[in-house]
Structures are given as structure tokens and as C-alpha cells.
């Protein structure tokens, strides 16, 4: 039985540059886990699921940035904490979904340690930042021995806890496009207590032209092996005005698109029951209703 007071031994590597980190990953491949804030990696160690090698990003300079530009959008560096993102005025104003997913994540202490990129890379089906970013849209910037590549968040999650990031690649940044005029987004989650992980989380992005939805992205988490987009719901929204009829149809459609399971946090039945209502409410919240 692993103890949470004395961690099992592992090798710790503290690269001083992105290049050094990428070289280490190239050498160790899947025998290493990358640690940013440590809120997931260290806890895995306490539970005895740790990796024999831990690569800490703590001493790589200037990875803790949150920058917004009206042309290139938002860039979040691999060491930017959840609290930094929650405190950022541009995030608060332009990406309320992302702001909320960071601001309610864990506790004030873990928000000072854990990172948004870490939340993305952990690839938990209930990851709150994953849900928000999947709705808003964005790209994960990966650095590997062969150079840099960007993967759309839509193609990033392959299956349960597995991403498109190869074992010799390092996620260095998340890029999120600047919202177009008329675009709005929102996020909500359901938990037993505020500290708990989500039973279900939902997020939407609606690109509006007057009262008509031009384009919609709807994401939902903790109801499938990965966070998913609800393509049927998005199709129901596209080109429509949001009426009670449309919303009712959405409430009925959501349960047909998800595959929840029973687990320690909730039951499949309950998740199926609340998911549709949550999607309806988050659409109304995004529209400011």
C-alpha cells in the first residue's frame, strides 16, 4: 500500500530549457511523466501509480504566461496556473467558459499550483478546462524532437486518458482564437461539493448573427470515455433562433448522444437525466438569459 506521507522513490529530472525537456522525453519515452504543478502527478505517486521518471517543468524559464492579442487570440503557457488564468482580465471578459472552468477548479491552494495545460494533458473525461476549451475551440502546441506541431482540440482526445501527444512530445502552450463579434460562451458543472470533480460538465460557444445561431459548439464531460462534442445538438442549433421548441428538442437529444457510466461520483441514470437540462441552461446562460 502506497503511503501519502512518504512517496515511493522515483527519478526526478529538472530540465532548464524546452529543448532539454524534449531530449529527455525522446530518451525516456513512455517511462516518464511530465509534471507542471504536480497536483495530479504527485497524487498519482501517493496512490502508487507514479512513473519511474518525473520530468518537472518548474525551472524552464518563461512558461507561465497568459497573453491575449485581438488578432492571435489567447496563449496559455504550460506553467500558467489555474489561478493566473482565472485572474486574467481578458479571460474573464472574452472567455467566461474558460474563466469559470479555471476559477472553480479544485481549491484556492491547488489553483495556485495546478495548470490549465496540465488539466488538458491529464485528459480526464471530467476535466473542467478540457470541456471549456473543447467548446470554445483551440489548439495544443506540441514540441518534439522533429520540431513543433499544433493539434486542434477537436482531434486531441483519442480515447480514455489518451491524447494525440506522442510520448516524445511536450505540450508547451494552448492557443485559443479571439472570439468573433457576436460570439458568446459559457461553462457549468455539477458536483456534490465544490471541491469534488464534476459528475457532468457542459460548455457552449454560440456564434450569433442577431437572434440566429450561425455556428454552435457544445461540449460535455464525464459522460463518455473522453469529453465529447454533441454534434446532433450543434446541428439542431445551427441556423436557428433559440425558441422553447428548439430547446425542448435539445433536452431530448442530449441523452441519445452520451454514454455515461455508474461510478463513485454519480450514476449513468442520473447523468442521463440531468445532461439535457444542463445543456439547455448553459445555452441560455451563454446568451445572457
Amino acid at each position: 500500500m502506497a503511503s501519502s506521507r512518504i512517496l515511493p522513490e522515483f527519478e526526478l529530472l529538472i530540465p532548464q530549457s524546452i529543448k532539454e525537456a524534449v531530449d529527455l522525453l525522446g530518451k525516456l519515452k513512455n517511462k516518464a511523466s511530465v509534471m507542471a504543478g504536480g497536483t495530479d502527478v504527485v497524487i498519482s505517486c501517493t496512490k502508487g501509480f507514479g512513473s519511474p521518471n518525473v520530468i518537472s517543468l518548474a525551472e524552464i524559464p518563461a512558461l507561465d504566461y497568459v497573453e491575449y492579442d485581438s488578432k492571435s487570440g489567447l496563449r496559455i503557457g504550460a506553467m500558467a496556473t489555474l489561478q493566473q488564468v482565472a485572474d486574467n482580465a481578458d479571460v474573464q471578459k472574452r472567455y467566461p467558459a474558460l474563466w469559470k472552468s479555471a476559477a472553480i477548479n479544485g481549491t484556492p491552494q491547488t489553483r495556485n499550483m495546478g495548470t490549465v495545460v496540465g488539466n488538458i494533458m491529464r485528459a480526464s473525461p471530467s476535466g473542467d478546462c478540457i470541456c471549456a476549451i473543447l467548446a470554445i475551440g483551440g489548439k495544443v502546441v506540441l514540441r518534439g524532437s522533429k520540431g513543433k506541431r499544433e493539434v486542434s482540440i477537436d482531434d486531441f482526445y483519442i480515447k480514455y486518458r489518451e491524447t494525440a501527444c506522442k510520448s516524445d512530445e511536450l505540450a508547451v502552450e494552448i492557443k485559443i482564437p479571439a472570439p468573433a463579434a457576436g460570439s458568446c460562451n459559457a461553462f457549468a458543472r455539477m458536483t456534490r461539493t465544490t471541491l469534488d470533480l464534476s459528475k457532468v460538465n457542459v460548455a457552449v460557444r454560440l456564434d450569433m448573427s442577431g437572434k440566429t445561431v450561425k455556428e454552435a459548439r457544445v461540449a460535455i464531460g464525464a459522460v463518455a470515455p473522453t469529453t465529447i462534442r454533441l454534434k446532433k445538438v450543434e446541428a439542431l442549433l445551427k441556423g436557428k433562433q433559440i425558441t422553447d421548441d428548439v430547446l425542448q428538442k435539445i433536452v431530448e437529444t442530449v441523452p441519445t448522444e452520451i454514454k455515461p457510466i455508474d461510478d463513485v461520483r454519480s450514476t449513468a441514470e442520473y447523468r442521463r437525466d440531468v445532461a439535457g437540462i444542463m445543456v439547455k441552461r448553459i445555452i441560455l446562460e451563454a446568451l445572457g438569459k
Partner: protein, 184 residues
């Protein structure tokens, strides 16, 4: 690397340490340095008993270069931020400076938050108190006049198993009033 030499400042005192790389900050403080005012509760980042304040330099605008072309600036609102010693690896804390509850008093005078906890009897068994006091200090450093809701949200990461939350919240309110008028 099985051990790493680090320099760590705790309550203003500098320690040159050789720490096994799998040791947590909590383990180093309690077992190597005998600083037992930092408590071991759950060991999994959930209860807040091991809260310490990490010094993040002077408040205000700080700018540093990201690459040759751009610099970025951050506005830090408070000088110290709460983190959890049970899930921080000591070896990654080289050069850092932290404050524990034993470092709050100045010249023998208790910090206003400590005084308020005593005056309001916001302590029952006392195990969560060091973490609670540090968390309360960080709440007031960020926001000197928090509402009750803001206090309760701020204390979310600290669990009191005696469930004496009402008095703890009251103590933070009392400390807020005292610090707002500049009295220690």
C-alpha cells in the same frame, strides 16, 4: 539524481539542504527540519492542513522576456500565495521562500489573524488551525475587506473536522476590521 542540493528560505531563515528527490516539502519540513507547525492531514491535497505561503516576490508589475522579441508583464496582486506542502516536491523548491504559521508573528506580536482566532475561540482541536490561519492571511492580503461569501469561498480548501466554521469565518471578519484600521 537521487538527491538534490537546494536552498530554501523558511520564515526568513535560509536552509541549505540535500533532499531526496521524492520527498515532499512537507516531509522535509516535518522530518528533516522538525518544523511541525505544518500539519500532515490527508497527504493528497484535499484538506489544507499543510498549507504554507509561497513568497512570489514584490507585488505590482513584473516584466520578463519570453524570447528575443517579446516581453510579458504580469500584475501580481498579493505577495504570498497559499500552496500545499504535501504535494509540492521539495527538490523543485530551490531558491523559494515560504512562510508558515510560526513565521507570522512580528517582534513577539501575534499577527492580527492569529489574535482574532484566539479572541473569537475559532480553535477547537487545533489541527486545522495553522492552515486556516495562513489561508485567512492570504485572503486578507489579496482582499482586505472580503464579504462573508468571499471568506467562505477562500477557505474552501481548508477542512475543519470539528466543523467550527462559523467561528473561523467570524475570526477572519474581525481580523479584516482590525487590519483595515491599521491596528495590529
Amino acid at each position: 539524481m537521487k538527491k538534490r542540493a537546494i536552498t530554501l528560505t523558511i520564515n526568513g531563515e535560509e536552509y541549505n539542504l540535500n533532499v531526496p528527490v521524492h520527498y515532499t516539502l512537507l516531509q522535509v519540513m516535518r522530518d528533516q527540519l522538525n518544523l511541525t507547525d505544518v500539519k500532515y492531514g490527508c497527504g493528497r491535497g484535499e484538506c489544507g492542513a499543510c498549507t504554507v505561503l509561497l513568497d512570489v516576490g514584490k507585488g505590482g508589475m513584473q516584466c520578463k522576456p519570453t524570447d528575443k522579441k517579446t516581453t510579458y508583464c504580469t500584475m501580481s496582486q498579493s505577495k504570498r500565495k497559499p500552496i500545499l506542502a504535501c504535494i509540492a516536491l521539495a527538490a523543485t523548491m530551490d531558491g523559494k521562500s515560504i512562510t508558515t504559521v510560526a513565521g507570522l508573528a512580528q517582534n513577539g506580536d501575534l499577527h492580527p489573524v492569529q489574535k482574532a482566532f484566539v479572541d473569537e475561540s475559532a480553535i477547537q482541536c487545533g489541527f486545522c488551525t495553522p492552515g486556516m490561519v495562513l489561508k485567512a492571511v492570504s485572503i486578507l492580503e489579496k482582499n482586505p475587506k472580503p464579504s462573508e461569501e468571499e471568506i467562505r469561498n477562500g477557505l474552501e480548501g481548508n477542512i475543519c473536522r470539528c466543523t467550527g466554521y462559523v467561528k473561523i469565518v467570524k475570526a477572519v471578519q474581525v481580523a479584516s476590521k482590525k487590519t483595515a484600521t491599521g491596528k495590529r
